[in-house]
Amino acid sequence: VVSVQEITWMALLIALQMVLGKLSIGSNTLKVGFSFIAIGLLGYYFGPFKAAVANVLADIISHTVMATGGSFFLGFTFSALVAGVIYGYMLYNHKVTVLRTFITVLLITVIVNTGLNTLWIHMMTNLPYVTLLVPRLTKEAFSLVYQTGLLFIVLRWIDNSKFNKIGQ
C-alpha cells in the first residue's frame, strides 16, 4: 500500500525529474543534465521496487509529453527500470557516503548509460558498438565525476536535514 504522502512525494519527484531534464548546461557535445538527481532521490526515499516503477512511468510520460524524439523505443524504458533499481538498491536506507554515491553512479554509468543505452542505439542504427562507444567514453567519464559530486552534495544535505523522511 502506498500512503498519500508517498503518492504526492513520488509525483513531485517525477515532476521534478521532468523539470530538471529541461535544465542543462554545456554544449551539445558535452551536455550536463540534472534529472539524474530526481531519480536518485526516488531511490533514496522509496527503494528499488517503487523507484523502478516510478522511473519507468516518469520515462514514458516525459518522453511522450515532451516529445523528446525517438525514445518511443522500449529499450530506453527498460534502461529507466534498471536505473530505478540501482538507485533504489544502493541509496535506500543506507548512510550516504562518497564511496557509496560513487559506486552507484559508476553502476549507472557502466550498466545503463554505456551498456544498455549503447545497445539500444546499436539496435536502432545498426552502427557497430565500438563506433558508438568510443565518442561516449570521455563524456561518461566526465559525468561520472560530476554526477557523483552533485548527487553526494544533495543527498548528504538531505540526510542531515529534517527532510530525510517523508510525511512530516
Binding site: W157, N160, S161, K162, F163
Partner: protein, 282 residues
C-alpha cells in the same frame, strides 16, 4: 544612485507570434535615497519593471541607467556582478531561496559571491541577523528549522549582507502577520534613513501612504502615473478607472465627504485625517 528608464519596452517571447508586452514604453526616474513605491494590479508589469534594474531581464528596446551603468538589449550577461552587488533584491516569499546548512552560511552566500572575504562576510552576517530582529544564536541553526516569519527575516538579511546601495522589495511582507509586517516595514524605513534607495512593490496602499516618498502606478505594462503619494492618491481619474485603490484614511475621508465634510485634498495617513477632522469638527 539614480535610476532612469528611457522608453523601455520588454516583450516576453519576442520571437513568437504570441509576444506579449511586459513593459510598454516606460520612462521613469527613481530618485536617489528616496523610498519609491510601485503599485498596480497583478500582472501590470511591476515585477518585470524592477527586474530590469539589476539586469535579470533586459529591455527589448530602450535603456536603463543605474547610477551611470547603462543596460540595453545588447547588455552582455557577463560582468553583471558589480551591478547586482549594488542593487539588492528581495523577492516575493524570499524564504524559498534559502539553501545552506546554517543561517550564517546562507547570509554569507551573497557577500562571498560578490567577493567579500570570509571574515567580512561573517561580520556582515552577524550584523544583519540582528538588524532583522533575530539574535546571534540563530546563526548556527538550520534555516529550515525556523518558522516562516523567521525564514523570511533570514532571507532578507542575506540580501542586505552584501550592503547594497539600492534595495528592491517585491511584496516583502506578503503572508506575514500584522506585527511582523509592521516590523519589517520599519526596518526598510530605517535602511532608507541610513542612506539607501528603497524601491517597494506592494498592494498595500497604507504602506505606500505611510512610508513612500514617491510612487509609480503601472497598468498593462505602462506607467500611468508617478509622483508624490499625496498627489497621486488625489488623482480622481485613476480611482475611477480602477487603476488605484485608496489608503484606508483616504477611503474614510471620501466617505465623510459624501456626508458633507469638505476635503480640499484627501488625507492619506491617519494623522492627516485626524488633523482634518479636528479642524472641521471643532
Amino acid at each position: 544612485m539614480e535610476i532612469t528608464f528611457e522608453h523601455v519596452t520588454h516583450s516576453y517571447d519576442a520571437n513568437s507570434p504570441l509576444a506579449n508586452l511586459g513593459l510598454n514604453d516606460v520612462s521613469l526616474t527613481i530618485a536617489d535615497k528616496k523610498f519609491t513605491a510601485i503599485v498596480g494590479q497583478t500582472g501590470s508589469g511591476k515585477s518585470t519593471l524592477v527586474r530590469h534594474i539589476n539586469a535579470l531581464l533586459k529591455p527589448t528596446s530602450g535603456t536603463i541607467n543605474v547610477g551611470g551603468r547603462v543596460i540595453d538589449s545588447e547588455t552582455n550577461n557577463k560582468n553583471l556582478k558589480s551591478l547586482r552587488k549594488k542593487v539588492g533584491m528581495v523577492f516575493q516569499f524570499p524564504e524559498s531561496q534559502l539553501f545552506e546548512e546554517t543561517v550564517e552560511k546562507d547570509i554569507m552566500f551573497g557577500p562571498m559571491n560578490f567577493g567579500f572575504d570570509a571574515s567580512d562576510a561573517k561580520k556582515a552576517a552577524n550584523e544583519m541577523i540582528q538588524l532583522v530582529g533575530l539574535d546571534e544564536s540563530y546563526l548556527d541553526k538550520s534555516p529550515f528549522d525556523l518558522s516562516g516569519g523567521q525564514m523570511r527575516r533570514v532571507a532578507i538579511a542575506g540580501v542586505l549582507a552584501s550592503r547594497p546601495e539600492t534595495i528592491i522589495l517585491d511584496e516583502p511582507t506578503a503572508g506575514l502577520d500584522p506585527v511582523g509586517r509592521h516590523e519589517i516595514m520599519e526596518l526598510f524605513k530605517e535602511l532608507q534613513n541610513q542612506g539607501r534607495t528603497i524601491i517597494l512593490i506592494t498592494h498595500n496602499m497604507d504602506d505606500v501612504a505611510n512610508y513612500a516618498d514617491e510612487m509609480a502606478v503601472m497598468n498593462q505594462g505602462k506607467l500611468v502615473a508617478q509622483g508624490l503619494p499625496s498627489v497621486v492618491f488625489n488623482n480622481q481619474q485613476l480611482i475611477k478607472d480602477d487603476l488605484l485603490t485608496l489608503p484606508k484614511s483616504a477611503q474614510f475621508a471620501q466617505a465623510l465627504s459624501q456626508k458633507g465634510f469638505k476635503f480640499e485634498k484627501l488625507p492619506i495617513t491617519i494623522d492627516e485625517l485626524g488633523t482634518e477632522i479636528k479642524q472641521q469638527v471643532n
